[in-house]
């Protein structure tokens, strides 16, 4: 059958009207697959019928539509056959895109603020570290000084505590009346220590010099240096001394004592 023959036969009209036999219906379906132009013809028939029966006697009541849609909503709950696809949902990717940008910006701002505060904190802390390092080295220096002074004191104490060591008190005279000093002497080891105690500083360009009196003759026992606040000082080795004396001499000392300037004297 040609397309014209099919159309002429009135088969399509019966098909649309729903009065075709099941065999004819199947046939029309198959023909439509083979000749898609038949669908156009079917649509025209349908349009004519719809238009014809749409010319109703009275216009339809508007409430009817609402009433139907209410019943459909009700039925939908009980039947729950249909899948509901919301039509008004905006395309989700647009929303995601916007949310993404907003989130990124927020993250960037937060991160910048946080980084800035961290930067400030790091600066502050490194300043503190430098400060602490300085304090630490100062303390270490002080510690070394203390340790050295402690060693000296310990040695001084041990030396003085030795029962073999003799302690000779030197009394002031002439310029140093009412002053005093102490000499610690170990006759066995011949070691001599001078304790300047509260001795005033020597006059300008002068220096105190310690003498030992051995067999009635003065022997040089070394120059006394009162620098750096040190009061306890190791002197030269002396054997067989009967007395110790201090004179004021020119800087560097003198080979023989100037009797006029003797300011301290004490017998063993």
């Amino acid at each position: 059958m040609s397309i014209e023959e099919i159309i002429e036969s009135g088969l399509l009209e019966s098909y649309v009207l729903g009065i075709a036999t099941p065999e004819e219906t199947v046939m029309v379906q198959e023909l439509c697959v083979k000749h898609p132009e038949l669908i156009k013809e079917i649509e025209l028939i349908e349009e004519a019928l719809i238009s014809y029966s749409s010319q109703t006697i009275k216009p339809l009541n508007n409430e009817l539509k609402n009433s139907i849609s209410n019943r459909l909503v009700f039925n939908e709950k009980s039947a729950s056959k249909a899948t509901i696809i919301p039509l008004n949902t905006p395309a989700p990717h647009v929303k995601l895109y916007q949310v993404g940008i907003a989130a990124s910006l927020l993250l960037l701002i937060t991160s910048t603020i946080y980084n800035f505060s961290l930067y400030k904190k790091v600066n502050q802390l490194s300043g503190q570290v430098a400060e602490l390092n300085t304090t630490k080295s100062v303390l270490a220096d002080q510690m070394n000084v203390q340790q050295a002074s402690m060693q000296t004191l310990t040695y001084h104490f041990q030396f003085v505590a030795n029962p073999k060591v003799k302690t000779i008190a030197l009394s002031g005279m002439n310029s140093l009346v009412s002053q005093s000093a102490v000499v610690h002497w170990n006759p066995e080891t011949e070691e001599v220590y001078f304790d300047a105690n509260a001795l005033p500083a020597s006059p300008q360009s002068k220096q105190y010099q310690l003498w030992a009196i051995v067999d009635g003759k003065p022997v040089d026992a070394g120059m006394i240096s009162l620098n750096n606040g040190a009061t306890f000082q190791k002197m030269k080795l002396i054997a067989g001394a009967q007395a110790f004396a201090v004179t004021i001499e020119n800087m560097g000392g003198s080979p023989t004592p100037t009797i006029d300037t003797m300011c301290l004297l004490g017998n063993v």
Partner: protein
């Protein structure tokens, strides 16, 4: 769907039921049924409109039966419905249906009858051929001629 098909289906229902209020009830039920049975609609078995048309026709016919009207109404007095139709269109001739009036007037009596039987009453081709004492082939041809006329008339109607 309601906007596209409600008028056409209502026209079919009202032609069978002949009562505005009852036709509205039937139309409601038809749409509920269409909604609930929509998953079972198979495009392979026919046009969507044909499917809905069958539901509307069957429910309208059921409605008239349950109303204890003449059970053989559709088989007996076809002229009845044609008469009703004419009456109703005459009643409304003052309204907006002048175009439709033209269509009706332009349809030949036998074309009008065959369209009513096939479209509104849902008669099968065989029933029509028995009813009108026509051979099956002639029924098909006449249906086609009637619809061609409808197409022409509705086309003109739209153009106007």
């Amino acid at each position: 769907m309601y906007d596209n098909y409600s008028k056409a289906l209502f026209g079919v229902i009202n032609n069978i039921v002949n009562d505005q209020e009852e036709s509205e009830d039937v139309l409601q039920n038809v749409f509920v049924k269409i909604w609930n049975n929509f998953p079972s609609y198979d495009e392979q078995k026919g046009r969507l409109y044909t499917w809905m048309l069958n539901i509307a026709r069957n429910m309208a016919i059921d409605s008239t039966r349950s109303r204890h009207e003449k059970i053989k109404h559709k088989i007996q007095e076809t002229t009845d419905s044609v008469y009703h139709k004419n009456n109703l269109f005459e009643q409304n001739s003052s309204h907006e249906n002048i175009g439709l009036q033209n269509i009706i007037n332009n349809l030949k009596e036998d074309q009008k009858q065959i369209i009513d039987l096939a479209y509104f009453q849902g008669y099968t081709q065989e029933e029509i051929s028995q009813k009108l004492s026509l051979p099956l082939g002639t029924v098909k041809t006449k249906v086609r001629q009637a619809i061609i006329m409808l197409r022409e008339l509705t086309k003109n109607e739209i153009l106007q």
